[in-house]
């Protein structure tokens, strides 16, 4: 198992897929990294040499925000919105979607599991 920045990469996936196991690295960045480190993205992650791994780690550390720092950055951005008391901040505080989606139905990702209210008309009855 090759390790990069404290995260295990799966052995038998191709490099550009394995890299995505790091938080903050997706398809685009993974391919970018391979190009920068001059590694064939198609080689299996288990076959990367120490040298290649350290090169990847070096590039990530220098130019990208990933894992812990990225999580912290996101949290800080949200905390900022909450603090200045803007609309998006209040949506975060209430656990509702912030980008103007509808909340009459759906929005379950933000709102969590349905809380059924007794006596409330169901969708079927309303018709």
């Amino acid at each position: 198992m090759p390790r990069i920045l404290g995260v295990d990469l799966p052995n038998d996936k191709r490099t550009f897929v394995s890299l995505r196991y790091l938080y903050g690295i997706g398809k685009t960045v993974a391919l970018e990294l391979c190009a920068k480190a001059e590694i064939d993205p198609q080689t299996k992650a288990g076959q990367l040499t120490e040298d290649q791994l350290s090169r990847l780690a070096g590039i990530i550390e220098a130019d990208y925000v990933v894992e812990g720092p990225l999580r912290r950055q996101t949290q800080q951005n949200i905390a900022r919105l909450k603090e200045i008391g803007c609309y998006r901040g209040s949506r975060h505080r209430r656990g509702l979607p912030c980008h103007g989606q509808r909340t009459k139905t759906n929005a379950r990702t933000r709102k969590g599991p349905r809380k059924t209210v007794a006596g409330k008309k169901s969708v079927k009855e309303m018709r």
Binding site: R80, E83, I84, G85, C86, Y87, R88, S90, V117, A118, G119, K120
Partner: protein
């Protein structure tokens, strides 16, 4: 979709002028405004605005973090007071 850089931020002239005027005179009275779409620029920091929400004016004291947001973001237009629990009482 962000606004084109060529145009620069959308700042309502009238509000901007009033802020500059306040800067000169040094007074810090709240500026009453309906211009919710006006972007907050660095010049606004430290000033107070009364932003209309369709019904009343919310007092907004601009701090540095608010730069880049719109005035309207700080004056909520909807009021949610929670759901009624009356249904339960009616059933019993």
């Amino acid at each position: 979709m962000s606004r084109s850089l060529k145009k620069g931020p959308y700042v309502v002239e009238k509000v901007f002028k009033k802020v500059l005027k306040q800067k000169d005179s040094g007074s810090r009275e709240p500026i009453k405004t309906w211009a919710r779409a006006c972007t907050i620029v660095p010049e606004f920091v430290g000033h107070t605005f009364m932003v209309h929400n369709g019904k009343l004016f919310h007092k907004v004291f601009v701090v540095e973090d608010m730069v880049g947001h719109k005035l309207g973001e700080f004056s909520p237009t909807r009021m949610f007071r929670g759901h009624t629990e009356a249904k339960k009482a009616a059933a019993s």
